[in-house]
Structure formats: structure tokens, C-alpha cells
Symmetry: C2
Subunit: 306 residues, 2 copies
């Protein structure tokens, strides 16, 4: 059994590679829901959907999120009302949010709805929201105060300096059903190459999760989302620096060392392997840039062998 | 000032004709919201939207509701999840519900959102929801019990016998702002050719509305939605019979006589004019079938002259 802690695009690409080398029944992904947003009355779970669409081979390959061949009639029509179109929802993508929102209103949990959605897409792995409780990643932005994660990430194109991040509601939250149990029974825990602060951070902040991962530290392998000091996608590099960390594999190692025994870093960072080990992690050097499924599968094999 | 009590398609067609002969500033339509439904978390106001789209010349002429040239990507995609697709929401139409739902969540009233929507479509008349409170038309269906109006109307294609209708929440509701005032200051109140039970009925059931209309009975003109015993559209004829009324202009006159002084009936019913007058209403005979805008305008002139 393999348990992966997953954010959005990077995690989705890694999982796609992983499923090329292990049976889907053996994989559980615990997915960040701190990015979830209620917009137009709809419950939107960007990371769950990115993972789902990617594994269903339905994701838009240009953006890494949303559906391929999407149409935008609803968003275009919303402009007439000067409605909120900054968060782009394609017409077919909307169906996912309509369904999720209706099922939640019917009394289903996010875990249940997620299972229904992944089953409808024919996925064999298990996707578990980190919690069925509402946890909101809030970002304090210089000169502006605290805003929602998507307002920062999409609304400001993550181009404004961040002075703080918190996960509102996380203290009172409980992990989704089977989240802790799946970690406990995992042969391998993978920390996907996602933003350590706002993708992996919220999952670990759910009470009990970091403790259970740390208890399996020697079976926990993280993949650095930072390559040669930069994030492949998103603001992880700037965010690390702005919040007082180092935007490097060493900075990632400092964050992950308390609960992960191994860090996989890219060949570009081979010279930093020793420094990573100095932080108390076993360091594995491998190609980590998943430009296609084969490269992602190769990375998955490295992780399985680590 | 002209105030119209309005349901969906029939009312929309009449108002389109009315606006061909009077300035839009002189017209206020008080619109039924008993048909409103929350689906997928979205607040849908079918009668308000039918009137809006019709007056904006954007309605689908085939159906009388929804937008012309609509696409159905979201509904098609919802089928993957076996989501609720019985209530068809086009992609562009969805934008209206997304906007309305967001604005209501922001704290706007339905009256305010409706003004924003009609303004976005460039409409000059005033559309007032009958109430900003949630009033739900509930239909008791033989052998099945009570269901929501749209479940009856759309879900069962209004083909099942009805044994009762009620407007849940109406006793505790208050009329929308300006609803009573606009009736009080009206030179003419028009009861549009809408279903007397489930379109006009809910409006009159809002506390104070029937009283104010009745107080202007001599200035109130109704148009019969029943022509030669049948409804032009929808289940008004069967519903009248099933609920113990007569499906004829005389049956309509019996319902409307307490608060309307005049009933406009179609030429097909000319022989029943005397029987209508016996119910205590002035009867005007005229062509009432609004197959195009000119015929609707001609009917509006008849109403203005009545």
C-alpha cells in the first residue's frame, strides 16, 4: 500500500507516473482541500479535480488544470453581469462543481462525493480529501492583509509578496475517514512534489496527520518541488523565501526532515545532496522533471526503490 | 403607471407586446417566485428569467424559456456523474444562476439582484420579485404526495393529476419592497395570461397583495390564460379541473372576480362573454393568442383601452 500526500498539478503528474508502475488498488492519495473555494454558491475543490482530471487523461495539457477541449460559454455570459470571472470555470468543469455541491447539500461528505466523482471517471486509486471539514488556506499579502488562497493564487496570479499563511479551521478539524488509517497501514508514504507551504502544509496540519507520517519516517519519501532553486510551477520558491525558508532542496529538507526519511532531488541539485543529508534525510538524486508520463513513471520507480 | 402580475411564458409575451406600445419606465412587473428552485446549490428563478430573456429578445423561441443559441456542455458533462439533469440548464443560462447565487450569498436581496440582471440586459421596465422571502409552490400529486413545483412541472412534465397546491412560507412572507406601493400607485393593474393557480396564485397569496389589487378592482384587467377551455401552454386547464374549478373563461372569471373588474377573453370564447359578466366582471372580447409581437401589442392596446 502506497499513500501519497498530494496537492495539484505536480502531485497529479507524479500519481499518473505512479499508476503506470503499480496497480491503482495499491494507491491512496490524500489530497489538499485548503484551496477549496465556494464561488457562485458552488463548492470547488481545485486539487481534487486536478488530480482526477489528470489521472482520467482528461486534463488540459496546456494549463495542467481544467478539462481538455473545454468551452467557456458560462464564463463569457457571466461577463454580461460583471460577475466573478477571475476564477475560470469551464462549462464541462462546472458539471463537477454542480454535482459536488448538490451531493454535499444532500448530506454526502466530501469523501463520499469524491469517491463518486473518481468512480465516474473510472479511476482505480482512492482519493481522500484530507478532511471533510472546511479548512481554508488564508494568505497574508503585503500591504493588503489576509485574503483567500485562490484570491492570492488566481486573483493576484500569485505575484504579490506573502507575509503569512494559515489554515483557518484546521485546529477544530478531523482527518477524513481512513486518512490516518491509510497512513498507518502504508508500506510507503510519498510526499508529492507539491508546494510545501500551501499544498503539503495543510494536509500535515490536520490533527494527527503529521504525527502518523512522522511515526513512519523511515518509510516516508518526499520529492522536492524545488529544482535548482526554483519551483517548476507556482509560487513555492518565492513563498519559501518570503516566509523565511530557503528556496532550495536544502530548505525543503529542513521542512520535511522531522517526518520524512528520504528526499528525492533533481540531478540539477546533485551538488546539494550532502547538504540535504546534513539535515538528517537520506538523499536520492534522480531526474524529477515529469515532462511526460514515462519520465513520471521513472521517477515513481525511483521513489519505490528509495 | 402600469403594474403587471406575471408568471412565465404567457406573461413574458404579453409584456413584450406592452413594451411595444408604452414606455418601459411606465411598467412594473411583479413576478412569481414560487417556482424558484435551488438546484446544484444555485438559486434559479425561472419566471424572472423567462420574462428577462424574452424582453431582451434573447429567449429561445422554440421553447419560450432559456436562451436562444444555447449550448449544453455542463448538462452533458453532468450525465457522467448521473447528476440531476432533468432540469435543463444551458451553459449561458447558468451564468445567470451563478451570478444570482453569488450576489445573494454576498447579502443582496433578490429584488436587488433582479434589478442588476435586468439592467445588464438593458431592460427599461422594472421587474420586482413578489417577495424577497423564500416561498415554495408545493404540489400534491395523486398517489405520490407533495413535491416541489419544478419536480411536478418539469420532472413529471406536468402530466400527473394534482390534488392540492400550497405556497410554503407565504404566510410568514412579506411583499418585496415597492410591490404594494407600485400596486397602490398604479393607473392600471394587469393580470397577465399566466396560470391562475401556480403563477398568479402565489403573487396574490403574499400578504397584502390581493388586498391592494382588490382595492383597485375597477382598474384591474385580467387576461384569460384559458382559450376555448384549454391552456395555450402548460397545465392550467387540467389543474383548474383537478382542483375543482371550471377550465373555461367562466372558471377564470370566478377566480378573478373578487379583485379584478375586467376579464379579456379570446374571440373563440365570445359566446361565454355573458356568462363572464354574470360573474360580476366586465368582459372584453379580443384576439388573445400572441403568436408574434404585433399580436401581443394589439392585445396590450385592448387591455389599455379596457
Amino acid at each position: 500500500m502506497i499513500v501519497a500526500l498530494a496537492g495539484g498539478v505536480g502531485a497529479a503528474r507524479f500519481l499518473r507516473g505512479l499508476l503506470a508502475v503499480v496497480p491503482p488498488d495499491d494507491v491512496t492519495a490524500i489530497v489538499n482541500t485548503g484551496d477549496d473555494i465556494t464561488l457562485h454558491g458552488l463548492h470547488i475543490s481545485p486539487d481534487l479535480d486536478t488530480v482526477t482530471y489528470t489521472l482520467a487523461e482528461a486534463v488540459n495539457p496546456e494549463t495542467g488544470w481544467g478539462l481538455v477541449g473545454e468551452t467557456w460559454q458560462a464564463m463569457d455570459a457571466l461577463e454580461r453581469y460583471r460577475g466573478a470571472t477571475w476564477f475560470r470555470l469551464g462549462d464541462r468543469d462546472l458539471a463537477t462543481h454542480l454535482f459536488r455541491t448538490q451531493r454535499l447539500a444532500d448530506g454526502a461528505t466530501l469523501t463520499e462525493v469524491t469517491a463518486e466523482i473518481t468512480s465516474a471517471w473510472g479511476l482505480g486509486l482512492r482519493l481522500l480529501p484530507m478532511s471533510d471539514d472546511r479548512i481554508e488556506t488564508r494568505v497574508t499579502v503585503e500591504g493588503e492583509g489576509e485574503i483567500g488562497f485562490q484570491e492570492y493564487f488566481v486573483g493576484r496570479a500569485h505575484s504579490v509578496p506573502v507575509t503569512g499563511v494559515r489554515f483557518a479551521g484546521v485546529e477544530r478539524s478531523t482527518p477524513g475517514p481512513d486518512v490516518l488509517r491509510s497512513i498507518r497501514s502504508a508500506d510507503l508514504v510519498v510526499i508529492c512534489p507539491s508546494n510545501p507551504i500551501v499544498s503539503i502544509g495543510p494536509i500535515l496540519a490536520v490533527p494527527g496527520v503529521e504525527h502518523e507520517v512522522a511515526a513512519r519516517r523511515q518509510r516516508t519519501v518526499a520529492i522536492s518541488p524545488i529544482v535548482a532553486g526554483a519551483a517548476l510551477k507556482g509560487p513555492a520558491d518565492r513563498m519559501l523565501t518570503e516566509l523565511g525558508h530557503e528556496s532550495s532542496v536544502v530548505g525543503v529538507a529542513r521542512l520535511y526532515a522531522p517526518f520524512a526519511g528520504t528526499l528525492v532531488i533533481d540531478e540539477a541539485d546533485a551538488a546539494k545532496a550532502r547538504a540535504v543529508e546534513d539535515e538528517g534525510m537520506t538523499c536520492v538524486v534522480a531526474p524529477t522533471i515529469m515532462s511526460d508520463r514515462e519520465k513520471a513513471a521513472a521517477l515513481a520507480k525511483v521513489v519505490l526503490g528509495a
